[in-house]
Symmetry: C2
Subunit: 518 residues, 2 copies
Amino acid sequence: MALSKRTFWAFALLMPAAALAQSPAADIAQQGVGNTVPPCSSCHGPDGQGNPAAGFPRLAGLGSVYLQDQLDAYADGRRENAIMQPIASALSATQRRAMANYYSALAFKPSETNAPQQPISAAAVELAEHGRWDDAIPACVQCHGPGGMGVGDRFPALAGQSANYIASQLRAWRAHKRPAGPMDLMATIANRLDAADIMPVAEYFAAQPSTTAPATNKADDKANDSSTGSAKPAGTPNASGVQASTFVPPARGTIPDNEFGAMVRKGRAIFTDTQQHAARFVGNDLQCANCHLDEGRLADSSPLWAAWAMYPAYRGKNKHVNDFPERIQGCFRYSMNGTPPPRGDEVLLALETYAYWLASGAPVGKALSGRGYPELDAPRQSPSFERGAQVYTEHCALCHGSDGQGQRAADGRIAFPPLWGPRSYNWGAGMHRVNTAAAFIKANMPLGATTLSEQQAWDVAQFIGSHERPQDPRFTGSVADTAKQYHGKYSMYGQTVNGEVLGQNAPPSGTAPAAKTR
Amino acid sequence: MALSKRTFWAFALLMPAAALAQSPAADIAQQGVGNTVPPCSSCHGPDGQGNPAAGFPRLAGLGSVYLQDQLDAYADGRRENAIMQPIASALSATQRRAMANYYSALAFKPSETNAPQQPISAAAVELAEHGRWDDAIPACVQCHGPGGMGVGDRFPALAGQSANYIASQLRAWRAHKRPAGPMDLMATIANRLDAADIMPVAEYFAAQPSTTAPATNKADDKANDSSTGSAKPAGTPNASGVQASTFVPPARGTIPDNEFGAMVRKGRAIFTDTQQHAARFVGNDLQCANCHLDEGRLADSSPLWAAWAMYPAYRGKNKHVNDFPERIQGCFRYSMNGTPPPRGDEVLLALETYAYWLASGAPVGKALSGRGYPELDAPRQSPSFERGAQVYTEHCALCHGSDGQGQRAADGRIAFPPLWGPRSYNWGAGMHRVNTAAAFIKANMPLGATTLSEQQAWDVAQFIGSHERPQDPRFTGSVADTAKQYHGKYSMYGQTVNGEVLGQNAPPSGTAPAAKTR
């Protein structure tokens, strides 16, 4: 049942503030408070599931921090809404927190009524699940979790939400009628969308079940529209201002329907959900795609297509010529802090096949623009732990957590990877080097809002690289000796930070079994 | 000491024929016969080493069939030479054979006097050792053996031969003053040379020692001239009249001087002398380069560069996706009738690296023109063993031997591979299929004179494919069952030829150790 605006204002203006302050959250939700605050349930449903047809959003199961932020924003006018502004203003800050906690604790109940009126287009599926990197739009699910199931307190579930509500919020961001959100992320992204994207992508999420695996949408694999190529287009300056790659990997939808294509899909699945599909070789909470964004497709994010065409190659790291399978073994040993799949294992073959397919048409042995992470100039100021800590708090903690340990989606799957500690990459991984991390961060982070300066990237890389992490698998028994043999000037391994020698108390490498995540 | 023409004619006309017929070969060689036949040694030296300065050829150690052919050709005027014609005419056919045997049995003694007056150019080394496939010129050493040391009775040693003599003979072929040689091979090739090629390549061979490994000429690897690209050039119709590949692998001389380049060289060495560099994995007398001509560079000869860019790929042969190392393992198992190098073995890495380097610039995943062997149309007449036998005798036996068992160079190295029998590829190799062999033969054989019709190629492939060879490694215990499971319509395996079921008496597969060849 929807209330008309007029009826609502009649309530709101008649409510005595004193009565409201005493009401427990459940009472406010179900009965309202006098005439000032109508029962939340009248619009949001008896158990907070929302009213999709009327565009009243589901509240059940959304993050409490997020919900409180919204009530606070209504209360002080930053979020414009004629219905909610007077209600939120009538609640005390404490009450707003209580309401946020109340609704956050309610479980979402999937409903049949959210089924889309027409099939979701392949383009909308692509946008939701993979983003559109040509327009610097990351996948919605990258922050909102698989199927939009929500991640932590700050990334609300979209699954099962009212399509009209989602669409109206995207429009509100574009019209500056809603706070831009942490780090301006949602305002930035909403403004990069085309108007025509909005309703289809909203309907996609409305149709998703929550806290279960996202529905496999065959349109994803069948789509053959060229819009799904996702390398940065020719002529678009990348984050460093360099002309970005002109190579475009084949569109996601063009994986062939045959035995070869099945192996490509297997490789892609391993690459994007390594925890699940190569669990026995993984010793931490990372996925391949954490360091190789957009499923290994994105230029300047060590794209697989550029790597494939450059192997076999001599590597100073192990002082011999490595073929591609051996290179991947290195990723498992260091970046995944795990056990390298043995040669001949299907995990290697699948990843090889996926990389090969992504490289279709790339010239063998030519270093393509977009390869690796664009190297940064030496920092103007020596990278600083303290400045880095501030950058981290302001730009990284939202996703990776104030403790750097990442966040998981509602079903336990890893949504944001840990950046240090026992579940992150080890002291042998390339990313532990401050220059490599700085290059990655400058070109790619924060996701969808790569606005850090080079100095900020150096500083925050210094901060991240100054935390303990699993031991280097090449550990000789002595940190000093291992540092001398294997670590160069950009490594903090063996350095003393805050009174501790990094590496000295490192958790063992490669021994942590992959956590059971579902 | 050289005789002038005038002096010589004075001898020749005065010699009574009857006296000559009685002289043993050594007497003729050292003393001549009266005035008709001067001592051979007066021009060719006391032990047949020739007189390089005067252009009188070395005879010692050349094949007896070759030498007799030459004497016969002088005698009947097919080979023009004012000095030799009257001498050879004065000898009986029996005496000519005796002289051929006499000189063939003498050992060649390398001499310092053959050192070239100036350094051999990289282009001459390239021509001698690798040919110039743009002009359909195979390497000289392909038939004359490593370093020109000679192969069998029909391919005379060039090593240590008088440079002036070699050059004069190449010119004689161009001027039709010397018989074209078996299958017109030498006349054809001499006519494909540029006049400027002749003396440098002659000097190259004059400077080679005989029956030892050819001198390593650093110019080979250092040369950086673009002329060393050896794919058939764009616009040149290949043997089937199809426009050949436009892809050109990097020039031989451009292998970089670093660790990567060292691995490329290792792969090339394995590829061209598999017997020597991967002996433990080889069970027959073949080299990789036997089926992939010009070191895996030649279009329409299953060039490595085209293969590299097409893997990983699904193969019907083993019904799964194979990466390149696994594909090479297949070559060792079947074509080399050996033991596949285990994954991670440096032999695989080196071959991968060599193939990758050859493919520099090739587009990943695109089937390049020149890949594999150009498929033939179905034969107009059913391939015939009898017609094939005739083609074989006329066009193949010269090199591969009348028994199909190939030939070895003077130092025991394999010069021409066996085509059937226990030292050839086994019943699992692709080449055993008549269609594959026919395609290879049509495009590539006879080397340097690819003049067979499609029907002839089908017929001779049928003939070759109808001989016994090592068992299929997938042998199930029953020829009929193995044929049914693994062999298609183009295989003769399990067919009855001349009363024998092929495969029934096959030597075991993969068990023959590589023969010690030096």
